[in-house]
Structures are given as C-alpha cells and as structure tokens.
Subunit: 279 residues, 2 copies
C-alpha cells in the first residue's frame, strides 16, 4: 500500500485506528470452544467483521500465534488471507519485532512479504542498517521501526544521551534511519505514554507515519497524541488491542468490540475534522 | 542446563563449538530433494549426526525456518526433538532475536521453553528490562542477550557513548542487565569481528558465558577470541554456521561438515589445554 492510499483510506473511513489482534487463547469467550473447531480464527474473523469499517489497519502480534505452535502459525496465515480477501483496504502489520544480520533479515522479509501478504513488519533497530534495509526492497511494503516504545523498559536504553551530539538513542535511531528509507516505506513505533515527546519526534520526522501503541489499556490519551503527532497526511496509526478485542468475554464480544472501536473512531473523526483533514 | 553442566560438557568434549543450523533450502545438496520427502530435516539430521560429538551446542536461526512457513516451523520442532532425544547433552539456542513488552515476551518464552525444549533464546535489548525478564522465569533456561553484534550495522548504535557515564551502548546493556539475571541464566552475544573489545567486556562480565558468532565466514579468529574471552569456566560458545554446514554441497556434505567441525574442535582442544581447563 502506498502512503497516499493509506491517507485516502483514513479520510474515507474517518479513522486512523489500528486494531491489534493479540488473540490470547486464555482470554477469548469460552463458548467459542464449544461452537467452533477453530475458536481462535473464529474469534479473529468475528472481530475483523465487526470492526473493519471503523479501522484502517490490523496488527497481529506474532508472539500470540507462535505460542500456539504450528496451529498458531496457520491461524495467522489464514487471518491475513481473510483480511486481504474481504477487506483489501486494510494495512496489515506483522508485529514481529524482528531484526538480524543482512542475509537473515532478508529471510524474515521473505516470510512476511513474500509468503504472507503483510504490508509492514515491526523491526528492532539495535543491529543497525543491514538488519533493516532487507525489508525495504519490496515495493509498497513498509518497515515499522521501533523508536520509542510504550513499556517501562523503554527507559533503560532509549533515553540514553549521545555524548557527541546530545541526541537520545531514540532520536539517533530516527535520524540515522532517515538514510535507509523514506516516508513512503518507513514508519516508526512511538509509545503514546509519552505524547509530549512527539514534538521532538516530529521535529526530526515531520512527514512520516507513526504507529502509536499504548492508547487505552497502556494508558495514553488519543487527544494528546493527535495534538502533538498529527501532520498533513494524518501521519498517525493509533493501535488499540485489549480495550477493543476483549471489551466483552461473553457471547456479545464482537458487538462490544465494535462499540469500543466506534468510540475511538468517533473521537478520531472529530480530530481529523478539527485538523481540516476531512470535511 | 546449568552453567556447571555446560562447562562439564565442554571439558568432556574438549570443545566449545556451537553449530549454527542456518539451513537454507537453496544451499543444501540437490540430491537430497530426490532422496527424501523431507530434505531439510534430512540435512539437519545428517549434520547433527556428523558433528554432535564435536560440539556442545546447536543454534537454529529461526528466520530460515519461518521463511518456509508451516513446514519450516514443523522442521524446527522436529530438529529440536531430534537433538533432545539423541544428543541430550547439547545446549540448544533459538536464534530468534525476540523482545517485546512484558506480557508478549512471556508468550515468546512459552513458545521456546514451554512448547519447544530450547535451552536459550537470543533476545534484543532495545525495549529494556520487562522485554527480557519473562524469559528468565524458567528454571535452567537462559537468555542470550544481544550486546555487540558482528554485522556492519553494529556500528550504527551499539558504540554510541553515554553522555553521563561515557559507557558505550553495548556496555550499558551489559551493566544494566546484570540487575536482571545472573551468570547462571544469562549469556551475551559478542561478535568475533571485534575480539579486542572482549577485554572491556570481560571487565564488566568476567563470569558470564559469551555466544560468539562471526568466527569463520564472518571473519573472526578463534585464537583472538580465546585470548581475550576465555575465563575459568571457559565462558565461550563460539558459533560457526556456513563454514561447517555448507563445507560441501555434494553427497559428502555431512563428512565435509564433520571435517570442518573437527578442525575447529582440535583448535579448541589446544586452547582449553593451554588454559589448563582440561588435562
């Protein structure tokens, strides 16, 4: 998907919501295990059907699928296929946080862009340029690079200041990676728990899209994120996982997920309207 | 496996070799595709049978298996089972370079330590403490944390100097992570292309095991690594992948792999003897 297409989807749907498909076998409604031979896929399908018109992206976190072994990997493949087939306007992110030496990252790129039809993969920056660039060789596919994460451990290394430049590590990651790709094939993970930091981040990457986790269950505020992060093509994908997909653990889970997604979409519509990005 | 058991295996086998099972479907001998329904597993099995008495560890890189989809994941599971069953003294490392927020890293830990019976997983440090510690809750299982990698991109961020302490990022990773685990459940990836840096590294972590990639195909020298890295329990696992497993692409590939592994083992035996770690 191109950046322009992504922005048009956001305008048409009046939403920059990404729904995180962190589907946990221990958290999905119990009745699904009686009703379906394939309860996890059934759950994903119902969540997707209930939310697809309210969001522009889905983000399965690989850990939840890998932890189920072969079956999980198969469910992941089928989930991506299902979204591609029935909701082709969705941007699909493999939240895999991969990254290895060049020839190995090329293998991961093949997995997510060749074998499966993801639009983007999250990549960890620690190993530098040759661990990231193999993901950038696929047309209209994206790297979503970790910059500033939303967890407590983000403070261990990401704020370390460079003795030479005064830049913090996450800023150095942003600046250095500007040489690897463009705002047409790279976006960045920026945790919403630190919305005011978006000012510093936007000074370095005014045009790029940001994937913002941590709104909702992890504690960030959508209004704050928009205030500091919005740009002329929206430039934000805000992710919500648990708050939407586990809104209810009863038979009404899909309906409850839709209601939660609707709340977020409405707030996003107001934000986009106020910023004159939609009419 | 405990640290003491690992050291005893090293002494008994007179080797601290780790064989990297980076099995690439495009690089294994062609005749395997005619002879076997399952050529990749057949290759792994033959390499393992030919080298198991010469090494103390195997390290499959996940990228090579994931890139084959479901089939690859199954081959990985069977490879781990095969090693566990026939060569239970081997330390098996999932070279997966995972790392995510706490609850998600816990899922990855379950994958590699609960579902599969790996001894260790490589983990990227960028996201800090809560991305690493979930891997440390399994008894006698290890985190192998990336500190200083052997690729060109290592220079992008890992050498950044902390304005406050003067420490480079990889040193800060070592020091900070000393609070997360011990030398009984953490080891570190340290690239062999920078053997002289092992002096600085040993000043911070004198007792820990290091997993050293990059000897052989990536250009490092075993003698140099031993000179600066050896400690009283050996403290080194030196990995070789391509140089051993692709020593020949003909019918004699397993024999050729054994010959390469033997060369390395003999050099290691001399090193261990000279250091009085074996008699």
């Amino acid at each position: 998907m191109t950046k322009q297409e992504l922005f048009e989807n956001i305008q048409r749907k009046k939403s920059f919501l990404c729904v995180g498909l962190d589907t946990d076998v221990n958290k999905i409604p119990e009745h699904l295990f009686d009703e379906s031979d394939d309860p996890i896929f059934a759950f994903n399908k119902a969540i997707i059907d209930a939310t697809a018109d309210l969001c522009v992206a889905y983000k399965p976190n690989l850990a939840f699928y890998e932890s189920l072994g072969l079956e999980g990997w198969e469910i992941l493949e089928r989930t991506v296929e299902y979204i591609r087939t029935y909701y082709p306007d969705q941007f699909i992110i493999a939240d895999a946080k991969r990254g290895d030496i060049g020839n190995t990252s090329a293998m991961y790129a093949r997995t997510f862009f060749g074998n499966m039809d993801f639009d983007s993969v999250t990549v960890a920056p620690y190993m530098g340029e040759d661990s990231v660039t193999p993901f950038l060789t696929y047309e209209d596919k994206w790297v979503t690079l970790l910059a500033l994460t939303s967890n407590k451990g983000a403070f261990d290394f990401q704020f370390m200041k460079d003795a030479e430049t005064g830049e913090r590590l996450f800023e150095k990651v942003l600046k250095t990676s500007l040489n690897w790709g463009t705002d047409e094939n790279m976006m960045y993970v920026v945790g919403a728990t630190k919305a005011e930091m978006l000012t510093d981040i936007r000074a370095i990457i005014p045009e790029h899209f940001l994937l913002v986790p941590g709104v909702g269950a992890q504690g960030g505020s959508l209004a704050e994120v928009a205030k500091y992060g919005l740009n002329s093509t929206c430039g934000l994908l805000v992710n919500s996982s648990r708050q939407i997909i586990y809104a209810s653990q009863d038979a009404d889970y899909a309906k409850a997920a839709r209601l939660e997604a609707e709340k977020v979409q409405l707030e996003m519509e107001q934000i986009l309207f106020a910023a004159e990005l939609i009419q």
